[in-house]
Symmetry: C4
Subunit: 225 residues, 4 copies
């Protein structure tokens, strides 16, 4: 799956994190690699899951503990065709400080509906190992995400969804970028002119039409390695 | 066109952004690639436009939505032979905070006349999709730029002009550098000794004579990949 | 020894720093390379030391001045099988400001017991050359470390221990990451939600089970160069 | 000359900056490449100068405008055998804010005598093009440097000297590192524990004995490209 390698190449994923896609013929299934660093993945590593995140044909392959992130989101969001879970570095500080991420860059307009923070301690009412290791936690995360594009996970990372793999990958790259730029802008001044919701909605629609351009580039760079 | 690849190699461009050059025999025309990531460009991708940004011979090739940035600047600035539009990361915070970019590094002396910020919301009197998608917006941006070397575009990026491709490319690289260094200096102290206009004017003139040195290096590195 | 190369590849070591492992059949001995940049090491460069840090069979090979860091820790910590000494950049500021490193990222949960700072000036009661060049200084450092995973060394770097080489390497990578993220979070806000000790203990245990995933990746990347 | 390539590889030099060495048999001469980006240099590009910075045998090769930095320092400092002039990014903010660089890292102990800032505007009593383009300016810079290891040049860069090429190169790398770490430490806290002069003197002496280790590594990496 090229998506994982692209995200490694773009510094969104490292040895951890995962990307999934809803099955294109059976919307009650999704595809994700076995538990493996994204850079090492080959076609034989792709597994199929139902929306309860049970493997269709495990053949002994190790599964990601946190596959419930994916299954629970697909269950409640028919519009979502791809999910990225990452530990993207610049977003982690926003998850622990409670400073809201807001779009200040037209490429990152897709966060105009806000970026909620899923705090597993509050959501599950106590101490956990921080991992989304059950359908219940996955469901709580999906509820925090709601109809939005992105949710942060406190002390952990983020989940990003999209209507296609390229959209979810694009959003993952430009979420990281917005977080980095917003941190720099906040260091310069308390007065930041963010995108207005109306600007963001329009920018998002326009930029959606150009996704093929970076996608081709990223794919070629990531797979050419 | 080597310029695009150099700017990718120097982290000024990514999958987005574009470089153009005025036609060297017909000043009422300019050259720019079809809509494509700069890294993927080959000679066959170069298109010719008139100053209204109409293609001379499109042959079905996709055009950049924002080609009007280029056409409208060439129209009003006979001295300009090359234009770069980029999303250079360190300049974006300056575009949204209103903190003025000022030269603190002799290599970046070319911004001594100031770096205006084009706010599309103010200029067009309302909400847009943030893109310079019409001659009218391009014209407004060109007016904000005036006779200067650089203008920022709020929440979007920058436009950089020059009397030649190497000059515009050099300025793009050292604009990013000045933004980065100014942000660091501002984090250290409120008292920054910037270049005086007279120092900057002289430094710019002296450094203009040395452009061949980095240009040869950048070209070799970018094309050797 | 792959560990050294992995840490260079992950930007934890540069031309300086060293990794050791306790001998797997004789716990009163440890293995470390001769004095050499980690990237240049081959099997022939590995030397054996007793817990006083005397070489078993030096054969004229140059030794690291600071080998006492390793020997003195192995002496007092039977649970420790591997030791990393590094100049990891993001942790150095924490060593000189006295700002405590705390886990804000589940991957870095292993520092939940706190990260003490070894100040050689205080510990040795006066001026030194900053190096752990004697058993006495090594012993003082081991005492500061106590039963914990990590100690910083003021104006110098850090020492990281683990129950295996992959654990010590993993901790070195994610110590640097936590330091970087904590500095960014502190720049954003004074209110940071760190991992609770109970969350951290559980997260550390869960993540311990996944170490093979990045280890395989890092090894392949570092050795594939 | 390997030194230039090493410094490019270590991000101290880019298309600009230069390294020189005093002639090893004739102390009244020094060697420096013709005006060329350091990465492109070959043996045929090395020129010889007297201490007035007149070329011994120019053969039409272009000279660096700022060669007087080198000649004037060699003239007054018989102990200096190598000089680096660079635009090392992290030091430039310190040159314009007046915040003193101080050693907080034992590898950077060599700045314990202080890092003066040469402000060409003050030194020359007025506006210049910021370049050390004459013996008089070079002499003023050498006076600011005095007997120290490093001087910053306001809005421009730095000059670093050493008793050998490896020393000057080592200092250039770890000057940049100290500047970066000090900026980070200052962002965290106003209370920074710097090295005491006595610690720094001793650390510098001890580390001097280990220079061969990074030098071998850097040379191999830079020349292996």
């Amino acid at each position: 799956m090229a998506a994982g390698r692209i995200l490694v190449d773009q510094n969104v994923l490292d040895g951890y994190g995962h990307v999934s896609a809803r099955h294109d013929r059976d919307p009650s299934r999704y595809l994700m690699t076995r538990s493996l660093a994204p850079e090492l993945v080959t076609a034989a590593d792709i597994m199929e899951y139902d929306l309860e995140s049970n493997p269709v044909d495990a053949r002994g392959r190790a599964m990601f503990i946190e596959r419930f992130i994916h299954g629970e989101i697909y269950k409640g969001r028919p519009d979502v065709k791809a999910v990225v879970h990452c530990h993207s570095p610049s977003v982690i500080p926003f998850g622990v400080t409670g400073v809201p991420l807001r779009p200040l860059y037209h490429m990152s307009a897709f966060i105009w509906e806000g970026v909620p923070v899923f705090d597993i301690r509050d959501a599950m009412g106590g101490m956990t190992d921080m991992l989304v290791r059950s359908p219940a936690i996955g469901h709580a995360l999906a509820r925090t995400l709601g109809g939005r594009a992105v949710a942060l996970m406190r002390g952990h990372g983020a989940v990003i969804v999209g209507a296609s793999l390229p959209v979810a990958v694009f959003r993952s790259v430009y979420l990281e970028m917005n977080a980095k730029l917003q941190a720099q802008a906040m260091a310069q001044s308390a007065n930041i002119r963010y995108l207005e919701p109306e600007e963001a909605r329009r920018a998002e629609a326009s930029i959606a039409g150009t996704l093929g351009r970076p996608w081709e580039l990223w794919k070629r760079k990531a797979l050419g390695k």
